[in-house]
């Protein structure tokens, strides 16, 4: 396998092994971090999560759609320093409504079936992040970037 495929495989493996991501939004320049249950598409173009529309994060991304997400495999052990992978994704978020919502919701719930009631509530939004770039950190300090073409 060449090095490019290896990087993509690392990302896909990490995304399928983790349930939670840290989502970063901001309000008037004040950063805000929160946890979300996510799922990413295999082509790495999109990341989905759900959130009640009354939350601070939803409010923030309605004002400014630019977000960052952190997904990592650390286990709160010393060994994390040499073992864990961490990926920062940046991109823009949008709520999915209308006809296509059901399709993506099913995709999301296949990964997080226990969130069935929560995600289908009329007050809950399905959010899609169009990822622009990924920053992959491994071996403690090695950083590679993956940029998605338009």
């Amino acid at each position: 396998m060449d090095k490019i495929d290896k990087i993509r495989e690392n990302l896909n493996k990490l995304f399928s092994s983790q349930n939670l991501a840290v989502l970063s939004t901001h309000q008037d320049g004040q950063p805000y971090a929160s946890l979300v249950a996510f799922v990413a598409t295999e082509d790495l173009k999109h990341i989905f999560f759900v959130t009640p529309k009354t939350t601070r994060k939803f409010d923030n991304l309605s004002t400014d759609s630019r977000v960052a997400m952190l997904i990592n495999s650390s286990q709160n052990q010393a060994a994390d320093f040499h073992q864990a992978l961490a990926v920062t994704a940046i991109g823009s978020a949008e709520e999915i409504t209308g006809d296509e919502k059901e399709k993506y919701l099913q995709f999301y719930l296949a990964r997080h079936p226990y969130l069935q009631d929560f995600a289908r509530s009329p007050t809950c939004a399905l959010v899609r992040v169009r990822a622009r770039s990924y920053y992959l950190v491994k071996n403690f300090q090695n950083v590679m970037e993956l940029h998605i073409s338009e």
Partner: protein
């Protein structure tokens, strides 16, 4: 959990805790073999130590800086050195230490001991770690014993042990180390015995020397040899040795001494004693149920077993071979001293002589036929010296490493590379060349007319004095744009040299005080004061050898470069003659022999960027932070200048960061212009690192794909403290 188990109390479940060697000794003790007084220090203690001190994760962080498979041996040696220094600097936590200090004192007070490694995964019958982990002989006193336990632990992470574990696919994270402390039996005759000859399964082998076994094991003393018929248990043959030396205890260690005449006349053991040794090793084989390799010693006619381990099976012979190779990377002090004599007395003068003889040949006066012959001849001479370079010069570089370990053992410095400060400021050929360049740049700095002439390529009107100096420089050091690494590009004009000189002249002269401050005198005194009497002399000798080793890594390349430049000059002459006749229809001219002579030129393969965007690919991969080895402290920012071909050097601009595959001394003339150095090849003692240290520049080595991932003109930041190169500005 107990930190130690007396050998009589080791039971069948303790194998992992006391390691292969300890377990074998305990088993033999129970069977009634005579063994020296022995105490097993368990791997529990090792685990407690690395956990309590945080060393476990520090070691793993060190080993996972980058993928192990992408590390060169030099980098692995660097890792091992840093790890070893951690063990030397961190003692066993006092509350843990108290509980077993007493036991060591009561058992070994006033006695000399051997502190041996006993790794749980060693000597299992399928792998042999013989020689990879350390054992220390003739150690006295509890403090010294504790110190050597730490050194044995550190040897779990030696370069050779790391490579061997990797090859066997053993998990480094599971590695631990038990230790065996044995009262030293000062045997008057010692040896090793194989119950089965690895080359002939019907035979056994016994080897014996006077004095201690160490001389035989490390190859310093030649043994007498007996071959035994396994079935009949009878001696078939005896091959006597020269019997010149023996290894005996001396002060706090061992000494190789001339053997007294009376002893050298007769074999160390009688035929009857050889028979007894063979009976012993067969008894060990019967007990362990596989062929054994036993170390034994006779003390006042009593036969002791020092250790017994399985002879590695045929299926593992392949790895046995590489273990030998890993071990061969380390040369002994004696071996290096001999090598130095050969290099200084024979090889370097030989190289200079070879280069000088080539200068005398006027290439333009040769017929096409003779020129073709001359190219062949020069290629042969060049190849001969390239081979010598690999076989003799590269191993000699180990002198600096040997000294490093010696220095760190004595000084336990915070920076495991402090010893390099004692090696720098030696007269290196490339520094002399750079000095000459600076002088030429000075002339341009002070002569505006000359500067203008050079800038406008008005070479015809240049002052003859200056031209002569340039010619002299080229004569002495060759054309700077010629490569020594097999490249075929070589500009004939002095223009590239002028470009570099103009660039230098546009900026202030690099003052010598900008180079690393000279603290080495004070350091040398502190180092030598660690020793007394004889040891001080040995330490000084070792430093002297290391300095030569360090300096030669530079000089040998310069001389090799000269020889190659003569080959390239002959090829250039041939190319010109071929070019001149190119448009003429007559291909049957004598020039054909030249075309043939040039046809097998080495074509450098084009480097491929493993992350390059392929057609149709919907994403792009870029480097951001690349991790290598911190090889020269400091931090700097600049535009990257990626050197893919030697001719790229002539475009080098002041303040740029030099990015290359490997800095060879023939390209270090741009280093004074650079703001940092980044090299694909890894290591702290490689040329790029050496020269960067000389000029006090931040340097990172060992970045895989550095020249493919980084492009000329990229903004790069070189962090020589952490070994990190950041590509691009901070905008995302």
């Amino acid at each position: 959990m107990s930190w130690m188990i007396p050998v009589a109390k080791v039971n069948d479940n303790d194998r992992k805790r006391v390691g292969g060697k300890g377990f074998a000794l305990a088993s033999m003790f129970r069977q009634g073999f005579t063994i020296p007084d022995t105490l097993c220090v368990t791997s529990d203690l090792y685990n407690e130590y690395v956990t309590r001190t945080g060393l476990r994760e520090r070691i793993l962080l060190e080993l996972h800086r980058k993928d192990f498979k992408e590390m060169r041996w030099e980098e692995i040696w660097d890792c091992a050195t840093r790890i070893r220094n951690m063990f030397l600097r961190i003692s066993i936590p006092s509350e843990t230490e108290e509980s077993f200090r007493e036991a060591i004192e009561s058992q070994f007070s006033g006695k000399s001991v051997v502190v041996r490694s006993s790794a749980p995964d060693e000597d299992t019958g399928t792998s042999s770690f013989a020689g990879l982990h350390e054992s220390y002989l003739n150690i006295r006193g509890t403090d010294a014993i504790l110190e050597h336990i730490l050194k044995v632990w550190a040897s779990l992470w030696s370069d050779a042990a790391l490579l061997y574990r990797q090859e066997l696919g053993l998990d480094v994270e599971e590695s631990s180390m038990a230790v065996v402390i044995q009262e030293i039996v000062i045997g008057d005759r010692s040896g090793v015995a194989f119950s089965e000859n690895p080359n002939d399964s019907s035979q056994g082998v016994i080897e014996s020397v006077y004095g201690l076994n160490q001389g035989l094991v490390d190859g310093a003393v030649e043994p007498d040899r007996w071959i035994v018929d396994r079935m009949k248990r009878k001696i078939i043959s005896h091959t006597p040795a020269k019997r010149e030396y023996w290894m005996i205890p001396f002060e706090n260690g061992l000494q190789l001494s001339p053997l007294p005449d009376t002893m050298s006349k007769q074999p160390p053991i009688s035929t009857k004693e050889a028979q007894t040794v063979f009976e012993l090793v067969m008894k060990a084989e019967d007990f362990f149920k596989n062929p054994q390799d036993v170390e034994w010693t006779y003390k006042e006619n009593a036969l002791f077993v020092l250790q017994s381990r399985p002879i590695t099976t045929l299926s593992s012979q392949k790895s046995e071979d590489s273990r030998g190779w890993y071990l061969s990377l380390h040369r002994s002090f004696e071996n290096l001293k001999d090598l130095r004599k050969k290099i200084e007395g024979e090889l370097i003068p030989g190289m200079i002589d070879a280069a000088n003889r080539l200068v005398e040949i006027d290439l333009t006066g040769l017929s096409d036929h003779d020129l073709a012959q001359e190219i062949k001849n020069r290629r042969k001479i060049n190849q001969k010296w390239v081979n010598i370079y690999w076989e003799e010069f590269i191993p000699f570089a180990h002198g600096a490493r040997l000294f490093g370990q010696f220095y760190n053992d004595a000084m336990r410095p915070e920076d495991p590379y402090e010893f390099v400060d004692l090696l720098t400021h030696t007269e290196m050929a490339s520094l002399g060349r750079n000095q000459m360049l600076e002088n030429l740049a000075d002339i341009i700095r002070n002569d505006q007319k000359l500067k203008k002439q050079l800038k406008t390529h008005d070479y015809v009107n240049i002052d003859q004095n200056f031209t002569r100096k340039i010619e002299k420089f080229i004569e002495k050091f060759g054309d700077l744009t010629c490569s020594v690494t097999g490249g075929t590009h070589c500009d004939q004009e002095a223009e590239p040299l002028f470009n570099i000189l103009l660039e230098m002249a546009d900026h202030p002269r690099i003052a010598m005080s900008n180079r690393k401050s000279n603290t080495s005198d004070e350091l040398q005194e502190r180092f030598l004061n660690c020793f007394e009497a004889n040891q001080k002399i040995q330490a000084a000798e070792m430093l002297d050898l290391a300095r030569t080793s360090y300096q030669l890594r530079d000089d040998d390349n310069i001389y090799l470069g000269k020889i190659e430049s003569h080959l390239l000059a002959a090829m250039r002459e041939a190319q010109q003659r071929v070019e001149a006749l190119k448009d003429k229809a007559d291909v049957e001219s004598p020039t054909k022999v030249l075309i043939n002579a040039l046809s097998d030129l080495d074509q450098r393969s084009q480097e491929i960027n493993p992350f390059e965007k392929k057609p149709g690919q919907t994403f792009e991969i870029k480097p951001r932070q690349l991790i290598g080895q911190p090889a020269g402290p400091g931090v700097s920012k600049g535009k990257a200048r990626v050197i893919k071909d030697h001719s790229d050097l002539s475009s080098f601009k002041h303040g740029e960061v030099l990015i290359c595959d490997a800095v060879d001394p023939n390209m270090t003339f741009v280093v004074p212009l650079a703001s940092g150095v980044v090299e694909r090849r890894g290591g702290m003692l490689i040329h790029g690192a050496i020269i960067a240290r000389e000029y006090g520049l931040p340097c990172v080595t060992g970045i895989p794909d550095a020249t493919a991932l980084i492009q000329t003109g990229d903004d790069v930041t070189v962090d020589g403290y952490l070994g990190i190169v950041t590509v691009g500005s901070v905008d995302i």
